[in-house]
């Protein structure tokens, strides 16, 4: 463990955590995104579940655990969805953690499989996007948002992120060019991903010339809200092998909520408290990581994840970005699907996008976005601007289990 972190800024040493031995994560599924959908969230989640069952080659009844994330499922919860989909699971969870949902769902499901509470768990996230969905979600997002943010211009997440981007740029040395480099690389990656909604290349000049939305946020700093769904299965390695499914193993995971409440404005996330625990538990170092999939609703959050996960020191992100290439074949393959900035943000599915893409990388099924010889990947999640900052953070270190060729 690093000796420099002060007691106040890192997690207290936890008791010895058990590993995730014997757990397989498999069958990455994406229901292709559309800008607007007249379907409801139930349709998107139902499609994801169907694709998982089809992909695993199992009967519907063999899925005995389900974990759901969605913003637009209301008034239903995961419970109502089970009757809607005719499921009778013996294990059910509903994770309302937005961009951290993909990682947190894995944490819950992996332990349930290890404990024998369920054998095959479908983790699904999806949202519809009607013409007025986004405004409704934003205006009713949380009590603090309703009381203390929305009445101030109703700018939604753009406004909240504009404030912390403004602060971050002034105090931590990142420039628009640095953010632009990440966005351009992600677009380049997205052009290789058939699911990405953005199909045109993006140049740095186009990024810099884009119209301001909420200073210093400009057009290409914003995700496009859309409809879509993502999913994956968690089961034992034994079961995955029996089903001849390519899979990934879990080396370690973390989650943290409402980290650093004393910070006057968000300039770091919960990863900064837990990164040592994450890498120590996994037995790997940041240098061993072959690719990184972050939650990227705005470029500033990517920069924070580089720092807070330990890929560079706080305040050195500009140098890190300038020294690396972030394309699939670059020195630091990053958001290899194109990320939400280029694929689209399908509500809670945005919290699964990086996770599902990481599974593709580690099972050798990433197609033209495949990072060569990818063995270790880090996925991180971030979600829920409740008042002025994102409250949920999580990360997982995954490794290659059996790839397509090996499983067959």
């Amino acid at each position: 463990m690093s000796m420099v972190a002060s007691a106040a800024t890192r997690a207290a040493p936890a008791g010895k955590r058990r590993g995730y031995d014997g757990v397989a994560v498999t069958v990455p599924v994406t229901i292709p995104y559309v800008r607007y959908s007249t379907r409801s969230a139930h349709w998107w989640l139902g499609r994801a579940l169907a694709e998982l069952i089809r992909g695993a080659g199992i009967a519907k009844g063999e899925v005995d655990g389900v974990c759901v994330s969605s913003f637009t499922l209301g008034p239903d919860t995961a419970v109502g969805l089970m009757q809607h989909l005719g499921m009778s699971p013996r294990w059910l969870d509903h994770i309302p953690m937005g961009g951290a949902s993909g990682v947190v769902a894995l944490r819950r499901a992996a332990r349930a499989v290890q404990a024998g509470d369920a054998e095959v768990i479908a983790c699904i996230a999806g949202d519809t996007n009607h013409v007025d969905s986004f405004r409704n979600t934003v205006s009713q997002f949380s009590r603090f948002a309703q009381d203390a943010v929305y009445p101030y211009g109703a700018g939604g997440p753009n406004a909240s992120f504009a404030l912390l981007t403004d602060y971050y740029m002034k105090h931590y040395g990142a420039s628009r060019e640095d953010f632009g480099k990440l966005c351009v690389a992600q677009r380049d990656n997205a052009l290789k991903n058939p699911h990405a909604l953005m199909k045109k290349p993006l140049t740095l000049q186009q990024y810099l010339d884009a119209r301001p939305i909420t200073d210093p946020i400009h057009l290409f700093d914003c995700v496009m809200p859309c409809a879509g769904a993502e999913g994956y299965l968690v089961m034992s390695e034994e079961r995955a092998r029996a089903l001849k499914l390519p899979y990934a193993r879990v080396r370690s995971t973390i989650e943290r909520h409402n980290a650093f409440p004393e910070d006057p404005i968000q300039f770091r996330g919960g990863w900064a408290m837990d990164k040592d625990a994450l890498f120590d538990h996994a037995g790997v170092a940041p240098a061993d990581v072959d690719f990184l999939e972050t939650y990227d609703d705005y470029p500033v959050i990517n920069a924070m994840q580089f720092e807070d996960l330990g890929f560079c020191a706080k305040g050195e992100v500009a140098g890190f970005i300038r020294a690396n290439e972030f394309t699939i074949d670059g020195s630091f393959p990053f958001n290899t699907s194109g990320g939400q900035l280029s694929v689209g943000q399908a509500g809670a599915a945005g919290g699964y996008l990086g996770f599902v893409q990481a599974l593709r990388q580690l099972t050798g099924s990433a197609g033209r976005t495949q990072v060569k010889d990818a063995k270790i990947g880090v996925v991180s999640g971030f979600g829920m601007i409740n008042y002025d900052r994102g409250l949920c953070s999580g990360a997982a270190i995954l490794e290659r289990g059996a790839t397509q060729g090996e499983a067959a």
Partner: protein, 414 residues
């Protein structure tokens, strides 16, 4: 530096009048503590009685020690403006019509970080003063203002949205001939009103001070208005209703007398005719027109002012019938407030103690000078509050009513 407001041009009657939209209304019940503070013009936040933590946004319990004893208390309103942004897009109609809009994060000296509307004269990184104001929906919002007043700062469009400044607005003073009415007219002119209509219910009566006032400024215009006569009220509304942006109801019928010392209800009926039904007639005639013009440019219709009395809250038995009419007017004003809120027109109630004018001749001092009352009304409009208590007697009774209303009742009856 704020650009001074430009005097609005004469309205083109062919153009469509922009209808009123409101900023977002929903708030948790705890957050309405801010609304109460803003309506009264004070700066308060939740303070934990057990650990002293000042917290924001409002919570049900202390976010630091989980104590349930959190009370609204005055706190230091200064802070550092640590981040700002200018919105060029909004999800809400009201803001869409008013873009660009500046907001920011203020780290308060008292502890919490708050998101606030930010005045254009505030520099990022600098010290700001936070103030609680009611927005057009009638709910509280935080405004960050420059540390020290800057020239024309009240003209800034974002701030003007939360206030009812008389500058460049047209005002109807319903009884312009009373000492209070004349003082209000003078104060409005001084505050930059574009026009003041002086209601006159007794054109046959010559009042030299009134004639002198009317001759002193071309912005003054005498209009016939008897609030006890529905036709008179309607006639005036038909003639100037589309031009009234602030209405100050100064009409009052003040006479001594309780219940048992009389054998009839004539005095009570007369007081009700002026103070209660008069208010209702005015509201029915002028309210809809004001609502229609509630978002009509920089001189939109903004405020309805009732001059009530501290005795609207606690009867003065020596003037029992009059006190009852003021209490009834207060009740009616709450309904009016609810009905005007949908358009964003504010109802401001003024609660003075005794005013130094002819019907208070025998009331011992302290009494409020009409000019002092008028000044308090203008300040209340400039601050954008809902309740204004004027004078030492009003302030004292207000405090004592909170402490022990039965004691006040006994003492006023002696």
């Amino acid at each position: 530096m704020t650009e001074p407001l430009v005097k609005p041009k004469k309205k083109n009657p062919v153009l469509r009048t922009r209808l009123a939209t409101l900023p977002p209304v929903p708030r948790s019940r705890s957050a309405l503590g801010l609304t109460r503070a803003a309506a009264e013009g004070v700066f308060e936040m939740q303070v934990c009685a057990d650990c002293g933590t000042v917290q924001y946004p409002p919570r049900e319990v202390c976010g630091s020690c989980l104590s349930e004893h959190v009370a609204w208390k005055p706190v230091d309103n200064r802070g550092e403006l640590i981040a700002t942004t200018t919105l060029r897009h909004s999800n809400d109609l009201y803001f869409r019509e008013r873009l660009p809009w500046r907001v920011g994060t203020v780290k308060m000296a008292a502890g919490p970080s708050v998101v606030a509307h930010v005045h254009e004269d505030c520099a990022e990184g600098g010290t700001v003063r936070l103030t609680l104001k009611l927005d057009r929906s009638g709910q509280a919002v935080l405004h960050a203002l420059p540390e020290k007043d800057t020239p024309n700062m009240n003209d800034a469009p974002q701030l003007r949205e939360s206030t009812c400044d008389p500058k460049f607005r047209r005002v109807l003073v319903t009884d312009g001939k009373s000492a209070t009415g004349m003082a209000v007219a003078r104060a409005m002119l001084e505050a930059g009103a574009n026009a003041v209509f002086l209601g006159d219910a007794s054109t046959w009566k010559t009042v030299p001070a009134f004639d002198k006032l009317v001759a002193s400024d071309p912005r003054l215009q005498v209009v016939e208005l008897d609030v006890t006569d529905t036709d008179s009220v309607d006639r005036l509304a038909a003639s100037i209703g589309g031009k009234v942006e602030i209405l100050v109801n100064t009409a009052d019928y003040l006479r001594d007398g309780g219940i048992l010392n009389r054998k009839d209800v004539n005095l009570a009926r007369d007081a009700m005719e002026v103070n209660v039904l008069g208010l209702m007639r005015l509201a029915q005639a002028f309210g809809p027109g004001m609502c229609f013009r509630a978002a009509d440019g920089s001189n939109n219709a903004v405020a309805w002012v009732n001059i009530l009395s501290i005795h609207a809250h606690a009867a003065l038995p020596a003037r029992g019938a009059w006190s009852a009419s003021k209490a009834a007017a207060l009740s009616l004003s709450q309904t009016l407030r609810a009905e005007l809120r949908g358009a964003g027109v504010r109802v401001m109630n003024v609660f003075p103690g005794p005013v130094d004018e002819e019907w208070e001749q025998l009331t011992p001092p302290p009494k409020i000078a009409p000019s002092g009352l008028a000044k308090a009304i203008v300040k209340g409009l400039q601050d954008g509050v809902e309740d204004v208590y004027v004078g030492d007697i009003a302030e004292e009774l207000r405090t004592r009513l909170r402490e022990n209303h039965k004691a006040v009742e006994r003492e006023l009856g002696q």
